[in-house]
């Protein structure tokens, strides 16, 4: 059996049903096998970066491992942004790359790059396969590493001769052979005890959750936990969807563009229980003034996340679900009426609002409309910038794995291919990319992929004619010197959509927003909607980079 065939058989053993990829010279024997393949559906993309984000969107929306494939050299380097995106957000993907024949490695052969070297700092692990018969064990290991512990991307580099090489028989190993890799799922009982003591003493506790709660599917336990100890809960960008937007204890997102009440609550709290979150600088602002009165309990499956940025009082290494179960069984019910009352006051005083002085549609209103019309099962991806923050702030999520957004890396061009990946994995769901006019142009070629495979993804472009988020910073911190952020009039999106065979709409009037959205959601093919929003609308409130969470800028303060 050819190495290429062994690879496909191994992938099937791991339950792979989908590969996003692009061919090239060293992959010819693999593509020759894919040609006959019935069980794995292959999606030919238009740029390998697209394939990497599709695998990511597939993974985020399902919890399964996403798979992408690219040829050696430029194909492999085109995956790098997607791999880094997945790495920063702990998303399980397996990236397969072709490599020049083993006899040529190191010779600067045609289309040779040291992709294991290039990706080393942005993968959980990677492999260069040196023998065709090693393929099954390496695939087994790769999927195990990607999907267990703190998930993350794994790359397998496959030289041409390894794919073409013959192996006598195919035997798939039952277990990975990783001697030193043992993620710790069960928390230490002593630490649980200490945490319980601290929680029972706390008067102003707050729970701060991140993507780890989703990775561990700890939704139910999390809700039981916050209700049992009556603690308000705030989330990072990646934790959005775990707690329904209308839960009485929910404070929305914290940090730079978080709600005022979430940030105030953090600053005044006497105990932070961080779960599957990592104290990113977009969350903490100035670390020195972050939560000055709070003790910190930090629950994470990755010990390196703990005490990396902020020294915590009680570290608990373990899987969020297991830790929460243990905490729930140990802890007594708690009530904090005064604390909750105080927070309710803040909620009333400082709701997220919007107003727009200039001409054009209000982007927040469009997000709210989409939210209203799309229903609770719709999957929403975003690009990066203002579009992303408005979606995080105004979209009413009620379920996890419905919000796909590049948090850690902030990758413009992520949202559209991620939406395509999610649509492939969820053929019956409505999938919408909420985009900026800048970001969408970074992977717009994937319209061809969406049309080719009949994937009815919707793209709502919040077109402000600017690289909006950068312009906002220039407005606020660089005296409105708009250096190279004006991208107005650069393209006719409706024509672009039509040229690819998708449907396109332009919306300039408020009364058409709902009508066009409804129509678009009913069209069974990809649709691009170009919403002309007011150009200089900003995202509020805002903690300036490196500022303190209790000092949030608001629109009115600047007027």
């Amino acid at each position: 059996m050819r190495g290429a065939k062994i690879l496909l058989e191994s992938l099937k053993k791991e339950g792979v049903d989908t590969i996003f990829g692009y061919p090239g010279g060293v992959l010819l024997s693999l593509f020759d096998e894919i040609y006959n393949e019935k069980e794995i559906k292959f999606y030919l993309v238009r740029h390998e970066q697209g394939a990497s984000h599709m695998a990511d969107g597939y993974a985020r929306s399902t919890g399964k491992v996403g798979v992408c494939l690219a040829t050696s050299g430029p194909g492999a380097t085109n995956l790098v942004t997607g791999i880094a995106t997945a790495y920063m957000d702990s998303i399980p993907i397996v990236a397969l790359t072709g490599q020049v024949a083993t006899s040529h490695i190191g010779n600067d052969a045609f289309q040779e790059v040291d992709i294991t070297g290039i990706t080393r700092p942005i993968v959980k692990h990677n492999y260069l396969v040196r023998n065709s018969k090693d393929i099954p064990q390496i695939v087994k290991n790769a999927f195990h590493i990607a999907s267990t512990g703190r998930p993350g991307p794994v790359l397998i580099d496959l030289p041409k001769d390894i794919l073409a090489g013959e192996v006598e028989s195919f035997v798939y190993p039952e277990t990975p052979n990783l001697l030193g890799y043992k993620p710790k799922y069960e928390p230490n009982k002593m630490q649980i005890k200490k945490a319980v003591e601290l929680i029972e003493k706390a008067k102003k506790p707050i729970v701060y959750i991140g993507g780890g709660v989703i990775a561990s599917s700890a939704y139910e336990e999390l809700l039981k936990f916050i209700e049992k100890i009556e603690a308000p809960v705030t989330t990072t960008l990646l934790g959005i969807g775990v707690v329904p937007y209308n839960h009485p204890l929910y404070l929305g997102m914290l940090g730079m563009h978080g709600t005022k009440y979430a940030n105030y609550a953090i600053q005044e709290s006497d105990l932070i229980i961080a779960i599957g979150a990592r104290f990113d600088d977009r969350v903490t602002g100035d670390v020195k003034t972050f939560a000055p009165h709070a003790d910190i309990i930090h629950i994470d499956i990755d010990p390196t996340s703990i005490s990396k940025i902020i020294r915590v009082d009680i570290p608990i290494v373990g899987d969020a679900k297991n830790v929460l179960k243990d905490l729930l069984s140990e802890i007594k019910e708690k009530r904090h009426p005064e604390w909750i009352e105080r927070i309710m006051q803040w909620k009333k005083q400082h709701p997220l609002t919007f107003s727009c002085a200039g001409e054009g549609l209000k982007p927040q209103m469009i997000v709210e409309k989409i939210s209203e019309l799309a229903g609770p099962d719709a999957i929403i991806s975003t690009e990066v910038g203002q579009n992303q923050m408005w979606t995080a702030q105004f979209y009413k999520f009620t379920k996890p794995r419905k919000f796909l957004s590049s948090g850690g890396l902030g990758t413009m061009g992520y949202g559209f291919p991620a939406a395509i990946g999610a649509q492939v994995a969820n053929p019956d769901k409505l999938v919408i990319d909420i985009a900026g006019d800048g970001s969408i142009q970074m992977n717009i070629q994937e319209l061809a992929t969406a049309v080719k495979y009949n994937l009815p993804v919707k793209v709502a472009i919040l077109n402000n004619g600017w690289l909006g988020m950068v312009r906002q910073w220039q407005e606020l911190f660089f005296g409105k010197r708009y250096s190279y952020t004006d991208i107005s009039g650069s393209v006719d999106f409706v024509k672009i959509a039509e040229a690819y065979g998708a449907a396109g709409f332009k919306v300039e009037k408020e009364q058409n927003v709902e009508k066009v959205l409804k129509e678009a959601f009913n069209i069974k093919k990809p649709v691009l909607i170009d919403f002309h929003i007011c150009g200089e609308e900003n995202v509020w409130p805002m903690v300036p980079a490196g500022g303190s969470l209790h000092n949030m800028l608001e629109e009115t303060e600047l007027a």
């Binding site: 260069l128 590493i145 001697l179 030193g180 390196t304 020294r311």
Partner: protein
């Protein structure tokens, strides 16, 4: 406060594992003072002895990050153990117009070995801990050190002594 730590890392002897460790130190902005690598009693594993510097939080991170690498089998924080450490240095010392008796005396005190002699220089082997090698180099500074190479520290934990 800056501290120094000797860390022993047992790793699976896979290609690229040294690059992973070195890459970790550079990408995380960790300071590494020395690194010695070699096979162990089991040819499938290598042992790296790393001397790193940093404040307590950083040193803690270094140990956790080393543990996180998939190829890592075990990380031992030597400062928490009873251990012995040694380093070997080869030093080419200038002897031209110098008092050789004095030099030989110093070498003798440090239990050094002369490995090579020439008309104008000799090569000395010194083993010891970091301090010992540093004091030796200081003492022979006046002769002039032409070249020097050090292995970096290697360390092993002591076996537990049986109670009588």
């Amino acid at each position: 406060m800056e501290k120094k730590k000797t860390i022993s890392v047992m790793v699976e002897n896979h290609p690229g594992v040294l690059a992973r460790i070195a890459g970790l130190f550079s990408s995380r902005n960790f300071n590494i003072e020395s690194l010695a690598v070699g096979e162990t009693e089991d040819p499938a594993t290598s042992r790296m002895t790393i001397v790193a510097t940093g404040d307590e939080l950083v040193l803690e991170q270094i140990i956790k990050q080393l543990n996180k690498l998939i190829d890592t089998l075990k990380v031992i924080d030597m400062s928490k153990e009873d251990y012995v450490e040694r380093e070997l240095a080869l030093i080419k010392i200038n002897t031209e117009d110098k008092n050789l008796t004095h030099l030989m005396h110093i070498i003798h005190i440090f239990k050094g070995k002369v490995l090579d002699t020439a008309t104008d220089s000799l090569i000395v082997e010194i083993t010891g801990n970091d301090d010992r090698i540093n004091s030796f180099t200081q003492l022979v500074q006046t002769f002039g050190i032409k070249e020097m190479v050090r292995t970096g520290i290697v360390a092993l934990t002591r076996s537990k002594k049986q109670k009588e």
